[in-house]
Amino acid sequence: MVEVEGLCHWYGSSEMRRQVLQQVNLTIQPGEVVLLTGPSGCGKTTLLTLVGALRQVQQGHVRVLGQDLNGSSRRQRQQLRQRIGMIFQGHNLLRCLSAEQNVQMGSDLLPNLGYRARRDQAREWLRAVGLGDHLDKLPHGLSGGQKQRVAIARALAAHPRLLLADEPTAALDKQSGREVVDLLKRLAREQHCAVLMVTHDPRILDVADRLVQMEDGRLIAAPVPEPEPAL
C-alpha cells in the first residue's frame, strides 16, 4: 500500500537548507490504521504531503498504491491523488457548495459514472456519516464536527484505497473529535482503506492499529495505548 524507504527531505536552498526528514522508513498494509504523532515541526506533515503526492520526492524511495513517486511528473502525481482521500486540519470545504455538492466534488472524480449515480453516492455517504438531514446546508450552517464529517464523506466518495488525515480533530471538542475518528475508522475498515493520520491529540491514539512517533525527522515505533476506560 505505502512503502517508504530511506526518505530524506530538505526545505530551503544553499545555506538556509534545513533537513526535515532523515532516513524515514514506513510501511502501511492495506486496511491498516496508522497514527503518526510527535512534537510540532518534527516533519509529520512533510511526510504526509510526500506520501500524498503533493510534493516531489527529493531523496529516498516512496511507493504509494503501486506507483513510484521518485521522479514522478505533475500529471502522475495529480492522477495518483485522485485515488488518495485527504482530510485536513480545517475542514477545507468549498464554502459556496452545499454539503451534498461538496461530497459530490469527491465523487465527480470517479470516471464512467452518470451525474445521478454520483449524486446518489454523495447522498449515501452523507447518510453514512450521519448527515442525511443536512444535505442542502452550506458549510457555514454546520457545526465544526459536522463539517469534518462532510470532509470525511468527501474524502471517501472518490473510493480511495488510502486516506491521509492531518489532525482532523484539532478544531473539535473532545466528544465530537472522538465521534469523528471513530466514524473515520469504521468507514475506512468497511472500505478496506488504509489510513495514515497525523495527530497531536492524545485522546484518540487508541484507534490506531499501529502508532508511530516522529522526532526530529526520524521515526520511532511506539506502543498503542489501551482504550480509555468508559466513564
Binding site: T49, R81, R83, M86, Q89, L93, R95, C96, D108
Partner: protein
C-alpha cells in the same frame, strides 16, 4: 433524433456547476460585477450608437435620391458646403449611350424664419424641376406639382421643432407662410425626409423659386447632378467613360460613393469618430478593470479551496476552466441588461435628437464581442493567481 443519446450522455457526464455556484452564492459580488459589465456595455452601446447614428444621419437625404451616378463639383467638401458646377456638364452626360435620364439639383443651406416666434435657423433647400424624378419615393411626383407655382415649398415634416409648428398648422388647413432670405414662401405640402447631421430640416422647391431665394446663384450653375442609367449597364464602366470625356471640373460618383463622400467628411474631417470611439474605449477599459478586480478577488478568496481541489486530484486546467466559465457567465449575464438598456436609450435618443440610432445586429455583435473579450481577458489575468494555489501548503 440521433443527437439525443449523445446529448443525454453529455448531460449525464455533467459535474457540479462550480462556476455558476461560485458566482450565484455571492450575490453581492455578482451584482457589482454585473452592474460594472452592464455599465461598460451601455457606455459602448451609446458611444457606438451615437457615432454610427451621426454618420448615418449625415446621409439621410443622400439615401433618398433616385439615381445611379452623381455629379458633384470637386470643390464640394460636404453637404454643408456644396460648390456649384456648370449645368451643361450634366447635360453632356446624356451623350453617353447608357445614360437614361438626368436631374439637375440645387443644394444649399438657407435661413428659414420660424412662422411662430420669427426666429431664423439654417435649413437645407433642394431645388429641382418639379417634373423631374428626384427621390425614389413615388409619392413625390404628385406633391411636386404644387411647386410649379412660384414661391411654394414642400416642407419636411421630420424637421426639428425649432423651425416652427409648420406641419401641424398645415394639417389644420392653415396657410403657412414664412420667409427665406427676405423672400416670402408658402408651404404647399409636406414630405417626410428626416434630419441629417448637417441640416436640422429640409425644404424642396422648384429651380425657379430656388433662384429667387438665392439670387446670387450664377445662372446655369447646379450643385448636384443625378444620372440614371439604363437597366443592365455597368456603373463602373460608365463612370470611367464619363471621367474620360468630361473636363476635370466635375467628379463622377456612384450613389454609394456619394454617400461615402459625405460620411468620410464627418469621419475624417471632424473629431466625431475619434471622440466616440474613445468614449467606447473608456467603457471597455472601465469594464475590464471591474471584471478583473471581481475575478481576481474571487480567486484569491477561494485560493485554499482551489488548492484543496488540486489536493483531491483535480487538474489545474479544470480549475482554470472554472475561472474561464465564470468569465463567460459574467459576459452573458452582463450583456443582457446592457442590450435591454441600450434598446431603451436608443429610442430615447431617437425621440430627443431624431438621429437614426437603431440596435443593428453588427453593433449588437460588436458590443457582445467586446464584453466577451473584456470578461475572458480579465479571467485570463485572474487565472495567473491560481498558479499560487499550492496543494502542499494546505496541510
Amino acid at each position: 433524433m440521433s443527437g439525443l443519446p449523445g446529448l443525454a450522455a453529455i448531460w449525464s457526464r455533467r459535474k457540479i456547476p462550480l462556476s455558476w455556484l461560485l458566482l450565484t452564492r455571492q450575490p453581492a459580488r455578482l451584482a457589482v460585477a454585473l452592474a460594472g459589465i452592464s455599465f461598460a456595455g451601455i457606455l459602448m452601446f451609446m458611444q457606438f450608437g451615437f457615432r454610427d447614428g451621426l454618420f448615418d444621419a449625415s446621409i439621410t437625404v443622400h439615401k433618398l435620391f433616385d439615381t445611379d451616378l452623381v455629379l458633384i463639383s470637386p470643390r464640394s467638401s460636404s453637404s454643408v458646403s456644396m460648390a456649384g458646377f456648370p449645368r451643361r456638364r450634366l447635360v453632356q452626360t446624356l451623350a453617353d449611350p447608357d445614360v437614361a435620364g438626368i436631374t439637375p439639383v440645387h443644394w444649399n443651406l438657407v435661413l428659414w424664419r420660424n412662422p411662430k416666434d420669427l426666429s431664423t435657423r439654417s435649413i437645407l433647400a433642394l431645388g429641382f424641376e418639379p417634373g423631374d424624378p428626384l427621390f425614389t419615393d413615388p409619392g413625390l411626383a404628385a406633391k411636386a406639382k404644387v411647386l410649379n407655382q412660384r414661391g411654394r415649398v414642400l416642407f419636411d415634416e421630420l424637421s426639428r421643432p425649432e423651425f416652427g409648428p409648420v406641419a401641424e398648422w398645415f394639417r389644420e388647413g392653415r396657410t403657412v407662410e414664412s420667409e427665406i432670405g427676405g423672400k416670402r414662401v408658402r408651404v404647399g405640402g409636406l414630405v417626410a425626409l428626416g434630419v441629417s447631421f448637417g441640416a436640422d430640416g429640409n425644404i424642396l422647391t422648384s429651380s425657379e423659386t430656388y433662384q429667387q431665394l438665392l439670387p446670387n446663384t450664377p445662372p446655369g450653375s447646379i450643385e448636384v447632378g443625378l444620372i440614371r442609367l439604363r437597366p443592365g449597364s455597368d456603373p463602373a464602366v460608365v463612370i470611367k467613360r464619363l471621367k474620360d470625356s468630361l473636363p476635370k471640373d466635375v467628379n463622377v460618383l456612384t450613389k454609394q460613393g456619394f454617400m461615402d463622400f459625405e460620411k468620410d467628411y464627418w469621419r475624417n474631417s471632424t473629431a466625431i469618430g475619434f471622440i466616440f470611439t474613445l468614449g467606447a474605449a473608456m467603457g471597455f477599459i472601465v469594464g475590464c478593470v471591474i471584471v478583473y478586480q471581481i475575478l481576481y478577488s474571487d480567486v484569491s478568496d477561494h485560493l485554499p479551496e482551489y488548492a484543496t481541489l488540486m489536493a483531491m486530484g483535480y487538474r489545474l486546467p479544470t480549475l482554470l476552466g472554472v475561472v474561464a466559465r465564470e468569465g463567460l457567465l459574467l459576459a452573458l449575464l452582463g450583456y443582457l441588461p446592457a442590450y435591454a438598456a441600450g434598446q431603451g436609450l436608443y429610442s430615447l435618443v431617437r425621440s430627443a435628437t431624431r438621429l437614426p440610432v437603431y440596435m443593428d445586429t453588427p453593433r449588437a455583435v460588436l458590443v457582445f464581442s467586446l464584453i466577451l473579450v473584456m470578461c475572458m481577458g480579465s479571467a485570463g489575468m485572474a487565472m495567473r493567481r491560481l498558479g499560487d494555489a499550492d496543494p502542499a501548503e494546505i496541510f
